[in-house]
């Protein structure tokens, strides 16, 4: 899809969408959003870019192979989930930092959990999309 217009627009849309996806991710605990939608947004951003510039270039942007992003994200989620074991609590128990951080609000294990989800969603969606694009 070698449309100059589209390509140029995508170039600028990419950071915008990524920014927005982080925004969606972080505010999920307080307002609609969260790791899923955030991750989907981020994935969509990259997909858009790949539409415009092709796969090779997109891959070089993503840097980390999305196939490895999945286990990394999972690992983050798992760590967040099992961290309560250390203090002898059931899995998934929310562990909270006592003081709320400005802007993000309370920081706790569930935030990291959501970040893990975010990464997994990006990883898996991109894996799916990239594999398709590669085989077309």
């Amino acid at each position: 899809m070698k449309s100059i217009i589209f390509q140029t627009a995508s170039k600028y849309l990419l950071p915008l969408l990524l920014l927005f996806s982080v925004f969606i991710l972080l505010r999920g605990h307080y307002l609609p959003g969260g790791g899923f939608v955030g991750g989907l947004m981020a994935a969509i951003a990259f997909i858009l870019y790949s539409f415009a510039f092709g796969l090779k270039e997109t891959k070089s942007i993503v840097k980390l192979n999305p196939r490895y992003l999945m286990p990394v994200g999972l690992a983050v989620s798992i760590l967040a989930a099992v961290s309560p074991w250390l203090v002898n609590l059931p899995v998934m128990t929310g562990l909270w930092y006592d003081e709320p951080l400005k802007l993000i609000g309370m920081v706790g294990s569930s935030l990291f959990f959501d970040i893990g989800v975010y990464l997994v969603v990006i990883g898996s969606t991109l894996t799916i999309m990239f594999s398709i694009s590669e085989t077309i």
Binding site: H29, L31, G34, V37, L40, M41, I47, A81, M106, I132
Partner: protein, 767 residues
């Protein structure tokens, strides 16, 4: 006692170990196993004959009442000694008979296993353990019949034998459990006490029916008899051991064993008389149409088994006694005949009676054994056969109104068997020695001693039946606990029985002189073959096989839509029926809110898009319609306060569209496949399902709702879980595990897509 049983299994299990380094030792060592056990049983003899059965018990699966309860009483001892005694001879016999065989080690393994199973069977007092050993005899028989496994007919016979006995076994299992269920115990000895309870129970006919099927299949009763002639594919020692002396008698053993528990009713007696009677006559007559020695023996064995069943059916004390003695008698002479058949086969290479004769010139001791066994079989005085025959006639002769018919049939059977016995035991040895067999030699003593020994026993017991008194008494008491004192004698006085006995001999001899075994005789039976049970059974088998094919083909027809239809109909009918049956449809309008125009609009949008998706011809049209449906869905979510859902749904719809777009253009042109009629049918079906779901949704919606859980979430989302978007709090905290797992689903899906697209192991692919 347990060691007696277990040792066989152990030796069998050791075969694969030994065979690597001590292959040749096996035939030399293993025969001492039955011998040892025989001697052990011999030491128990005096205790058992004093009516003090020996016990040994181990709780195996006590939770179901399954114990290894071994109980050595008279009946068990009789069988045990037959098993080990004849076993010893067969083990020795085989070590020479099958000397050349490559897989002799396996053979001894099976044989040991069989012997152990058989011992376990007759020693078990527990119904379930009895069954365990019962099945083990069937399976070892399967391996033994199929021993010459490169021969297709061997394999077929093994399968058939296993099929019949396996089927009977399973039926028997049901019967045994039923007995235990009704009688409250799995111990036979305890069941004797609840005999009346069981007999008066409504399930009694079923129970004995099941038991009979088990016994009849195993003991080759009409119409299940046909596997036995087939089983003659097994090496002759096996036929001797399993298919004449021991295993086939397991059914008889079972009936005898259960006589004190279940016997004595009309249904019990008459079924056995009828089946036994038919079997003995049918098989005895059949034996005369055979020319293969083993075939003749097979049919005469079936006939003998029929006699035994018949006698157990007659069920009087005389009859039971006769059965007890005949078990021994038959085992002795029939084993002898089988063994000499084996020798003849081994030395001359044929078992065709028409081509045999004059062999006494080259193998005198074998001939002697043959003569003695034939005479015992015929029931000539001074042979054990005579004594058993006498008591047999005695029992039928005094059996109520039916005495004449019963007696006549048993006499007739005996006449036929006379001839069969002579054909096998005498005919091959007398007359002229045909040229082609002139080179036949005297076999090794390992071969001829066993039959001679057995034949000797026939005479010994025939002349001095008193030796057996004590033994037979305990055997008899096992079947009839309150039975009288017995005394076996050669001379019973001059009476009708003696007359009949002599008549039998006379008729038999006349028939022997008159009737010569011949191929043409065999051929005369051919027209009736299609009515023979084996034919019927095979036809049933074929029909069943083709039924299997059509059933399977009908359901597993390869068309996904038919599968969906069958699932759907099942669900709709089931749920619909339950809905109709148990739910009072009611409507409460109070819960239902008004429709605003914008909502209505979304509804219209959605409904129209759905229909559009259904009817449109282009795939892209469908996808766009799907997009609109998704959008409408989002609007619903939005209207009804689910912003998170709306966002997620929209993102995912977009991605799905993307996915479709990336894939679709590679699909072939869209074609319309189905006819109008089919579409109408499918439409009706799906409508049915849709209506069902709608009604259910409505009903559930109308049901009172509980909000405990969601209230808890709402209350604690911020206070405890420190989040204000409750949905997200549920996702990452309250039900975080769900979320973790669903990300795993995504990961796996991604892996799947990746491997689907990148990995292609098809041999000839254009890509």
């Amino acid at each position: 006692m347990i060691f007696a049983v277990i040792s066989g299994f152990i030796l069998a299990a050791l075969v694969p170990l030994f065979s690597s380094f001590a292959r040749n030792l096996i035939p030399k060592i293993y025969p001492f196993l039955p011998l040892g056990i025989f001697i052990y049983l011999g030491t128990c003899f005096s205790q058992v004959t004093q009516n003090a059965p020996m016990h040994w018990s181990y709780n195996w699966v006590p939770s179901f009442g399954v114990n290894l309860d071994f109980r050595l009483d008279g009946l068990a001892l009789l069988f045990g000694m037959l098993i080990t005694g004849i076993g010893t001879l067969v083990f020795f016999y085989s070590s020479y008979y099958l000397k050349e065989d490559k897989y002799l080690d396996r053979f001894y393994g099976y044989l040991s296993m069989f012997m152990a199973a058989m011992l376990g069977l007759v020693l078990s007092d527990n119904l379930i353990s009895l069954f365990v050993f019962w099945e083990l005899t069937s399976i070892s028989s399967f391996f033994l019949i199929g021993y010459k496994n490169d021969d297709p007919s061997s394999r077929k016979s093994a399968l058939m034998a296993l099929g019949i006995t396996g089927f009977g076994g399973l039926v028997l299992l049901a019967g045994l459990i039923w007995i235990g269920f009704v009688g409250g115990s799995y111990s036979i000895i305890e069941l004797v006490n609840s005999s009346e309870l069981i007999k008066s129970h409504e399930a009694y006919p079923w129970i004995i029916g099941l038991l009979f099927i088990g016994a009849f299949t195993k003991s080759a009763q009409f119409p299940f008899h046909f596997w036995l002639p087939g089983a003659m594919k097994a090496p002759t020692p096996v036929s001797t051991y399993l298919h004449s002396a021991t295993m086939v008698k397991a059914g008889i053993y079972l009936l005898a064993r259960f006589t004190p528990v279940l016997g004595g009713t009309d249904s019990w007696n008459w079924t056995l008389i009828l089946v036994g009677g038919i079997t003995m006559l049918y098989a005895a007559a059949h034996s005369l149409f055979r020319t293969d020695l083993k075939s003749i023996l097979a049919y005469s064995t079936i006939s003998a088994l029929g006699i035994l069943v018949f006698l157990l059916g007659v069920g009087t004390e005389d009859a039971l006694l006769a059965a007890g003695i005949f078990i021994l008698t038959h085992a002795l002479y029939k084993a002898t005949l089988f063994l000499i058949t084996g020798i003849i086969d081994h030395e001359t290479g044929t078992r065709e009676v028409t081509s045999l004769g004059g062999l006494q010139k080259v193998m005198k001791p074998v001939a002697l054994a043959g003569y003695l066994a034939a005479l015992s079989s015929a029931g000539v005085p001074l042979f054990l056969g005579f004594i058993s025959k006498e008591i047999m006639y005695e029992s039928t002769f005094h059996f109520s109104n039916w005495a004449i018919i019963l007696t006549a049939s048993i006499v007739l059977t005996k006449v036929f068997l006379f001839v069969a016995g002579f054909w096998v035991g005498i005919k091959p040895f007398t007359g002229n020695l045909p040229q082609e067999h002139a080179k036949a030699k005297m076999p090794s003593p390992l071969l001829w001693i066993p039959p001679v020994f057995l034949a000797g026993l026939c005479v010994l017991f025939g002349v001095f039946p008193g030796i057996l008194d004590a033994f037979m008494q305990t055997v008899f008491n096992s079947m009839s606990p309150e039975g009288e004192v017995i005394h076996l004698a050669l001379w019973h006085g001059l009476n009708w029985v003696l007359v009949l006995s002599l008549l039998t001999l006379g008729l038999g001899f006349a028939l022997y002189k008159f009737l010569k075994p011949s191929q043409s005789l065999k051929g005369k039976l051919a027209p009736f073959d299609k009515f023979a049970p084996i034919e019927l059974m095979e036809r049933i088998g074929i029909t069943f096989q083709s039924f299997a094919g059509s059933w399977t083909g009908f359901f597993q027809n390869g068309y996904l839509r038919n599968y969906v239809i069958s699932i759907l109909i099942f669900l709709t009918v089931l749920a619909g029926y339950r809905l109709y049956d148990g739910v009072d449809i009611h409507l409460d309008w109070s819960q239902i809110s008004d429709i605003t125009p914008s909502e209505f609009l979304v509804v219209v949008l959605m409904v129209t898009s759905i229909f559009f998706a259904l009817i449109t011809k282009t795939r892209t049209g469908v996808i766009v319609a799907l997009g609109i449906i998704g959008l409408a869905n989002c609007l619903f979510f939005l209207y009804y306060s689910a912003p998170d859902l709306a966002m997620t749904q929209f993102s995912i719809d977009t991605l799905t569209v993307l996915l479709f777009m990336l894939v679709l253009f590679q699909l072939p042109k869209n074609r319309s496949f189905s006819t109008r009629k089919l579409r109408v049918r499918d439409g009706a079906l799906s409508l049915m399902f849709g209506v069902l779901i709608s009604i259910l949704a409505l009903e559930v919606f109308e049901a009172p709702s509980y909000t405990e859980v969601s209230e808890y979430y709402a209350e604690n989302a911020y206070l405890l879980a420190k989040g204000k978007n409750v949905v997200n709090v549920i996702l990452v905290d309250f039900r975080g595990i769900d979320t973790l797992v669903e990300t795993v689903v995504l990961v796996i899906a991604a892996m799947g897509v990746f491997s689907l697209l990148k990995l292609n192991l098809n041999p000839f692919n254009k890509e």
